[in-house]
């Protein structure tokens, strides 16, 4: 047999055989309280993708404080997609890690935030300290449990809620600062992530009120019993917009860009929105939002743009090293 024939035949066999198998693995790097959401969603997406393309997708999850997770990605964690608590953390990946373009937020609807949430209070059953609104958090003897806003996305939203309430009530940055400082004086321990602060409040029985993601509060009720805790909805809170993005450089390298994009787009589908709603995230789709309206308390929500001029400004002013939070929490 001629050399050329041997070469061509074996090459053809090798390429044909290798082309059959296609198992795809994605890594979704997310923040603390989304564990349950993405367990449900990943299963649904895998089923959808298998039916659509015949390929098997396995999505691995990584969870932690949103800021800490962003740093992990910047430092080399091979995330195909990030689903973080706030846009500033994805911005950090774009700016400091150069792993996706600066305009990432325009690539998906609703500024790449397929669902929203807010901050509510979780108190012990019977609300023994009578906590009804943000003012009550500064009362002497009230223990407030919340995570560290330097590492936790949820905690940043909580901090901004405190500040926003005060600014709206008294119309002064100075008063807002004093009020926020007073609230944080009542914080006995700062966890690094939202799930950690839930553990502190629920399992370690520390404090009187947990400043929690809405979905995290409902999950705590479901898991630990409505006979032990209750949710208190304050008069006003912030509209939290967790954002999602494909980490282009990683996905391109791994050859997973197309499926990673489809994975995030499917969050906006009816099934994706239903799963979000069932996990106590507020869906963007108005029809599905109406269907699950009873799951969510009516609360006056303000946006970060409205009170703080956007994430970039809020991040720099409040959470950068030496920023306002560092100044008021220096104990």
């Amino acid at each position: 047999m001629k050399i050329k024939s041997i070469l061509i035949l074996t090459l053809a066999a090798a390429f044909t055989a290798a082309g059959f198998a296609k198992d795809i693995e994605l890594l979704n790097v997310s923040y603390d309280p989304t564990r349950e959401l993405y367990v449900d969603y990943n299963a649904a997406f895998a089923k959808y993708w298998l039916a659509k393309t015949g390929d098997t997708v396995t999505v691995k999850q990584s969870h932690g404080g949103s800021g800490a997770q962003a740093r992990q990605v910047i430092d080399g964690l091979k995330a195909d997609v990030v689903t973080l608590a706030l846009a500033a953390d994805v911005d950090a990946i774009a700016t400091n890690g150069k792993l996706l373009p600066a305009d990432w937020q325009t690539r998906l609807p609703n500024n790449s935030a397929p669902y929203t949430s807010t901050i509510v209070f979780l108190v012990r059953k019977g609300n023994p300290k009578g906590i009804k609104d943000w003012d009550d958090l500064v009362k002497p003897g009230v223990g407030v449990v919340v995570a560290n806003p330097k590492t936790s996305g949820g905690a940043r939203w909580a901090y901004l809620s405190v500040w926003g309430f005060a600014q709206k009530k008294w119309g002064s940055e100075e008063k807002a600062r004093a009020f926020t400082a007073a609230v944080y004086k009542n914080v006995p321990v700062l966890d690094s992530g939202a799930r950690g602060s839930t553990t502190t409040f629920v399992q370690r029985e520390i404090g009187d009120v947990l400043l929690a993601w809405e979905n995290e509060a409902y999950l705590a009720l479901k898991e630990f019993g409505a006979d032990k805790f209750q949710i208190v909805v304050p008069s006003v809170s912030i509209l939290a917009e967790p954002t999602v993005a494909v980490v282009d450089k990683v996905a391109d390298k791994k050859g997973t860009a197309a499926v990673a994009k489809a994975y995030l787009e499917y969050l906006y589908s009816d099934e994706g929105q239903e799963i979000a709603a069932r996990n106590y995230y507020r869906p963007r789709n108005p029809t599905i939002a109406a269907k699950y309206a009873a799951n969510f308390a009516k609360v006056d929500l303000f946006t970060i743009d409205e009170v703080f001029g956007g994430w970039t400004k809020a991040q720099k002013t409040h959470f950068a090293d030496g920023g306002v939070f560092d100044q008021i929490y220096a104990k």
């Binding site: 050399i3 090798a14 390429f15 290798a18 795809i24 080399g76 006995p188 370690r204």
Partner: protein
């Protein structure tokens, strides 16, 4: 009755008086209890806060420990790595102490019965920033230290990796297998007619979720079975001519990701090279399995012109069973002298080897990992594997044909036209690190037309070769 009523009244009066007198004391006590309860509650909170703070401190310390540099010393590697694993240096070594014993060939040998150090290598490999790796391997087994491998690998993606330096050309299946895990102490004839280590630049990677590996490179070019710089008349780290060889290999493992499939351990592919060699490149000879020099071209013969090799190859591993087969065709152009005619030679080799791990461990291309470590006192013996091999080297008849007006490329009276070798071996894996091997090689020689065992000028060719090769090896 009156008396009873009076007594009751007296008692009631006394009780009322007592109650009135003691009520403030009870109230004060209740306040105290309440205060104590609150105090206990506060202390309980303080204690819980302290405990939680300690818990968080411990978690932070554990996270910091993960980030700290790690020193690892195991029975497979000694390494220093950064906490995130992105950077590391690893130190390995390979020592092979062999003995070769030849039977029924008194006076006919081209090699002696001997103890020898076959390989004595130190491996230093490392990684920087996850994607850049290097390997540096010197060998101290020869009369002078030799550089075996020295390359840098830049992984842009798993599918796209660039390698530069000195390393094995991507052609032969057994040739690409690590020296420490090959089934036999010595490689087959196939490895003698595909190139060994060369200096060049290679692009390679894994496609389709690791089921297809490819490599394509440009190299200085080496004769059959040779290393760059290992041929007399050439100097390490230089090329003897301006021509370059191109080497390409693709290898598929279609069921690699399906661990339940019976074909999980199937792999097959093909490697090939193409290039041109100038006279200074030399013409390589061949050795028997027991490393006796058995074939050599005439000293006046020179390689000149196009060199092409192709090697289809496959392996299959299923549990303790392993099978590896490959074929290689080497087409070279040579002249019996600088002024002689150019002749195309098509030398061929093939091999089929099979192994079975008697102690039940999985066989594999990357070796056998014993379930137990040899320990006389505890009665554990490690793993045992039997291996067998049949391989053939066939020299093109044109190598022996007279080439008017000059001589043939190879002396037909002093060289075989075909060697067939049967190998049988036993490997004892005392641990992951230590291995002992005992191989018996039986080689038979076919002689070119007109040559007989009576008129051959090389005594080695008058009988078959029977040799026992033993090895005691440490590899980590």
């Amino acid at each position: 009755m009156k008396k009873l009523t009076a007594t009751a009244c007296t008692l009631l009066f006394a009780l009322t008086g007592f109650t009135a007198a003691t009520a403030p004391a009870f109230a004060a006590e209740a306040d105290d209890i309440q205060a104590l309860r609150e105090q206990i509650s506060q202390l309980d909170q303080k204690l819980k806060i302290l405990e939680r703070k300690q818990e968080l401190k411990d978690e932070a310390a554990a996270t910091a420990a993960k980030a700290a540099p790690k020193i690892t010393v195991t029975d497979k590697v000694i390494s220093i790595a950064s906490g995130d694993g992105a950077n590391f240096l690893k130190f390995h070594a390979l020592v092979q102490a062999d003995a070769r014993w030849f039977f029924n060939q008194s006076g006919a040998l081209t090699a002696n019965d001997a103890f020898l150090v076959r390989r004595a290598r130190i491996f230093l490999d490392g990684q920087f920033n996850t994607n850049t790796t290097f390997l540096l391997v010197p060998d101290f087994a020869g009369s002078a230290p030799t550089l075996i491998d020295a390359y840098v690998n830049q992984a842009f993606t798993p599918q796209f990796q660039l390698r530069a330096g000195r390393f094995r050309e991507p052609v032969g299946l057994e040739q690409l297998q690590s020296d420490s895990v090959a089934d036999f102490t010595e490689r087959s004839f196939v490895s003698q007619i595909v190139p060994n280590r060369d200096i060049g630049l290679q692009l390679g990677g894994d496609l389709f979720n690791g089921t297809l590996n490819y490599a394509a490179g440009v190299f200085d070019g080496v004769p059959d079975g040779q290393n760059n710089g290992a041929v007399a008349g050439t100097v390490t780290n230089t090329d003897a001519d301006n021509n370059k060889d191109v080497a390409v290999r693709v290898f598929a493992q279609p069921f690699k990701n399906d661990s339940d499939s019976a074909l999980h351990g199937l792999g097959f592919g093909v490697g090939a090279t193409d290039g041109r060699q100038l006279p200074a490149s030399g013409l390589a000879g061949y050795k028997t399995e027991a490393q006796q020099s058995v074939f050599a071209y005439r000293a006046t013969s020179i390689i000149q012109g196009k060199t092409t090799r192709v090697s289809p190859q496959a392996y299959y591993y299923y549990g303790p069973f392993g099978l590896l087969g490959e074929y290689a065709l080497s087409a070279i152009h040579a002249r019996p002298s600088a002024t002689g005619n150019e002749i195309e030679l098509r030398n061929q080799a093939w091999q089929l080897e099979a192994g079975y791990v008697l102690t039940g461990e999985d066989a594999g291309y990357t070796g056998v990992v014993p379930k137990t470590v040899f320990d006389w006192n505890n009665g554990t013996w490690g793993a045992f594997e039997v291996v067998t091999r049949l391989d053939v080297l066939a020299i093109d008849k044109k190598a022996f044909a007279p080439n008017p007006p000059g001589l043939s490329l190879a002396d037909p009276l002093a060289n075989p036209s075909r060697i067939t070798d049967y190998g049988l071996g036993l490997n004892w894996y005392l641990s992951k690190t230590v291995r002992a091997s005992l191989d018996f090689y039986h080689g038979t020689f076919d002689l070119p037309g007109g040559t007989t065992t009576a008129n051959t000028t090389k005594p080695l060719l008058r009988n078959s070769e029977n040799a026992l090769v033993t090895r005691f090896q440490i590899s980590f």
